[in-house]
């Protein structure tokens, strides 16, 4: 497996949707290629960081205002 071939299936590797036989090829490639190993690990970390840190928190007062407006309009409808 080449680096280009690895990159093409990077998403499938991350999402763990890889056939068993391809997995062996990937593991062999990663043992030899430090660059692809870094790309895989840091891409996984990128996703994890965005999953764990909410960058657009919904303020409580906005939430409360939303409920007041929606409930009022729904009851009228």
């Amino acid at each position: 497996m080449t680096c280009t071939e690895f990159l093409k299936i990077l998403d499938d590797v991350i999402d763990q949707s890889i056939a068993a036989e391809t997995r062996i090829e990937i593991e062999t490639h990663l043992r030899k290629c430090g660059h692809c190993e870094v790309v895989l690990n840091t891409t996984r970390k990128t996703i994890e960081i965005y999953q764990c840190h909410e960058i657009y928190e919904l303020p409580t007062e906005v939430s409360e205002r939303l409920h007041t407006v929606i409930m009022a309009k729904c009851k009228k409808a």
Partner: protein
Amino acid sequence: MSTIQSVAAQDEQHPDVALVERVRGGDVAAYDTLVRKYERQIFRIAQHITQNREDAEDVMQDAFLKAYEKLDQFQGNSKFYTWLVRIAVNESLMRLRKRRTGKLVSMDEDVPTDEGSVPRDFADWAPNPEQNYNQSELAEILKKTIQGLPPGFRVVFVLRDVDGLSTEETAETLGLSIPAVKSRLLRARLQLRERLSRYFKRKTPAASPATAAPRGNGVEA
């Protein structure tokens, strides 16, 4: 066996289906439960598309009201949440269009670019690199980094990786093909990784102790 499977499938009915049925039966409080369940996600998606807090608040309100009005059109062959997200995405795009004085805005408008899709930075990251920044610095880095992506990439990444929608659900929600979602997701992930590497990569041994500890250094422009 097939009977057991069909009973199991009925048992696995999504809890939103029962809530939607209650709303259709006139139970307004059940709709409030749905709003509370998804308000954070809808606000996040609207923020990511509009990049404007005021617009995101309006979009969130309009999307929930529109979903309530159109609840009879919800077929139940997709999840309530993906149906709701689709409404929120359309509302967000309409809001953007207004800001751009009528210019057509859609999820298809980005011409896919190869920029940043081929990894160039192969430096390994420090262990738990986010811990080198305080909460507000980290939030600023993450915001600035994702805002640099084209909108069509950004939304695919948020729906797929942050909200946890499947590729198929993301495609259905955005009206894109599955290959288009896959292509955008790969590019989004790689571009974000490349940009975050500036902040998170392990410092070289030659770096001075001051530069090796980024805490408090602020966010690079």
